[in-house]
Point group: C3
Chain length 266, copies 3
């Protein structure tokens, strides 16, 4: 199969299986995340209570942990959830939103990574840099560091935790111990919509649920994110309409869209 056929095969698997993706995520993006998963064909669930977290992980096909609006009870739930996922071999995606901006966030993500090797870490350049630096100079949660500069750190994170790291930005880098690709799909208007990075992390969860090769799952997810963004941007008049057309595009995505638009570079 060509790369584009493999991306499409994953999309078809997601639509056929509707894998349950368990999100412990932030308040800002929960609705978008759930809608993006549904539009893609997956089945979202949000749950954060310690009392049910292990049971919910137990029926899920992937776990996505996002630290965007962190608090102590939620950190405990995240820790419990990742242990349950690891015990069962369920893919784990970590989204270190705002790592570097405060000690709580930086420390929490370090602790999560140290306790259990995730399958994937996805963040913007500042957030990925904060995974190995005390002061990454993050400015809030949508910082625009040079992504190139972050890829060296990403490589180290990938090596250290034996996981796939995705540095998203104008170009998305997908990096593992022995592979590295650039995904050039996407559109400049996307960072003007809150939580599209968080959405990417959840879609990665859905791709990991159907594709056991995590590197390829991440690459395919970022291609689909980017192409849906391009299709949406072609119709949108701004970030408001972009958000909705993005969901429509995920829902209507075809093999031809992928074939015509895919942009991956080794």
């Amino acid at each position: 199969m060509t790369r584009e056929e493999q991306v499409w095969a994953d999309v078809e698997q997601i639509r056929a299986q509707a894998p349950l993706i368990h999100n412990i995520t932030n308040y800002v993006v929960m609705n978008n995340t759930a809608n993006a998963l549904l539009s893609l064909g997956a089945s979202p669930v949000m749950a954060h209570a310690e009392e049910e977290i292990e049971e919910m992980v137990g029926i899920a096909s992937a776990l996505v942990i996002n630290i965007g609006t962190l608090s102590v009870p939620w950190i405990q739930a995240m820790q419990k959830a990742q242990r349950a996922a690891a015990a069962k071999g369920t893919p784990i995606v970590i989204d270190p939103v705002g790592a570097g901006a405060t000690a709580l966030r930086t420390r929490t993500v370090h602790e999560l990574l140290s306790a259990v090797s995730p399958t994937v870490v996805r963040g913007n350049a500042s957030e990925i840099m904060a995974l190995q630096q005390a002061d990454a100079g993050a400015k809030g949660v949508d910082s625009q560091h040079g992504s190139e500069a972050a890829t060296e750190i990403a490589q180290r994170v990938a090596d250290q935790y034996d996981c796939v790291v995705c540095v998203s930005g104008e170009v998305d880098y997908v990096i593992s111990a022995d592979r590295k690709v650039r995904v050039r799909n996407g559109h400049a208007l996307m960072p003007r919509v809150t939580g599209l990075g968080c959405t990417a992390s959840s879609l990665i969860g859905a791709f990991c649920a159907v594709n056991p090769n995590a590197f390829e799952a991440v690459m395919h997810a970022m291609v689909v994110m980017g192409i849906a963004g391009e299709l949406a941007a072609a119709k949108a008049q701004g970030p408001g309409t972009l958000q909705l057309y993005f969901l429509d595009a995920l829902h209507n995505l075809s093999a031809a869209d992928i074939r015509q638009r895919i942009q991956i570079e080794s």
Copy 2:
């Protein structure tokens, strides 16, 4: 009055009175729920702190309890709220999101129902089945069990708690001790938008606020939900735009829309 005139009379009452609907609901859908109530003509409030819950119930015309993102402090607020509502005779709608998926959810909804008879329970087939079964085989929160199979359980729940039960799905069943109807309005794209079930529960709250006959209130609410969904789907290109056109349709709904589209079967 014909049935369509009665549906319309309720809509007009909601628009005229703007009843305050108090929602203790999940983080994922709060925004959609508030917007759907506003678009219909009702007045939404979200409040969950134990310290204010009784006072807020005291000024509300209906209470909607939705367990979609449950945690212990919220359960305590729900219990306190339903006692306050019962004491005042305020209609109570329970939405057992994800009942059957975890013991916490199943147990919480059993406890809520046992403590205070609700006016209405609305859920999908899996959720309703979990109200009487330990293992309903729920898969997350948007499961698609055969709704027909759930109606027997729904009947038992309606009898046991002396309430109206709505099993929503491709066909919506409205069931009480002595009545049963099918509402056939709606569109296949609606389950691709997160939280439209939760929205239905809140709109039921608004109809209960103006119509003392709970069975009719639920039936009318489901007709309005379904018709707004049909009108939205006729314009939408996917689940993203559907969500917004749905709100527009609720806002612009006319007596003629109801007359031309209503589909109720005994």
Copy 3:
């Protein structure tokens, strides 16, 4: 510079600086608020954990506190945040959502105002009246008191706390110890979208971040809110589409839009 040029200068400053606006706000509107700030050109962050609140305030250019879905842990975070902002001279905007509706809300906002003088308070007429009255007769959070009646109270609040008070409604009043203007921009459909008042408070935060004259910052923010609403309403078919076109309009706003539409009266 004419007034319209000053409004536009602030918009250009926000776009150029992308000031980080720290929001401690309610669950219902977090997504809209973040998107509105991004569409305007600012950079949003939401954080509420006591453990990181001072650090986050430390990197922010304005703090917006909104009590829409209050609970005790969040009140503590709000108090800590405003102390940190005051110590650093960071502008503070208070949005007293639902003040008057419950004792918890009324008391919390009184305590916040008494502890630290805010830069700006923005609310609807009922909420502003509750700042000086035990029983303001608030009905939920979108009450429509006569705004004129509230301006007298607003004047007293402005004097007492040495801040700017904005009473928003069909006409928006901006009031300080020695100035008062009416902003007549806006559209009747706007109150049918949840959280546009909360959005106004956050946009005020962004304008305060770039304009040290708080009175002018509030006036300019309300002009921009209102004009974006007018531009959106011209295209919208209801409150659903209004919400998205509003974000598009903020993103696409031009000096000409402001020049042609600005409506301020002394």
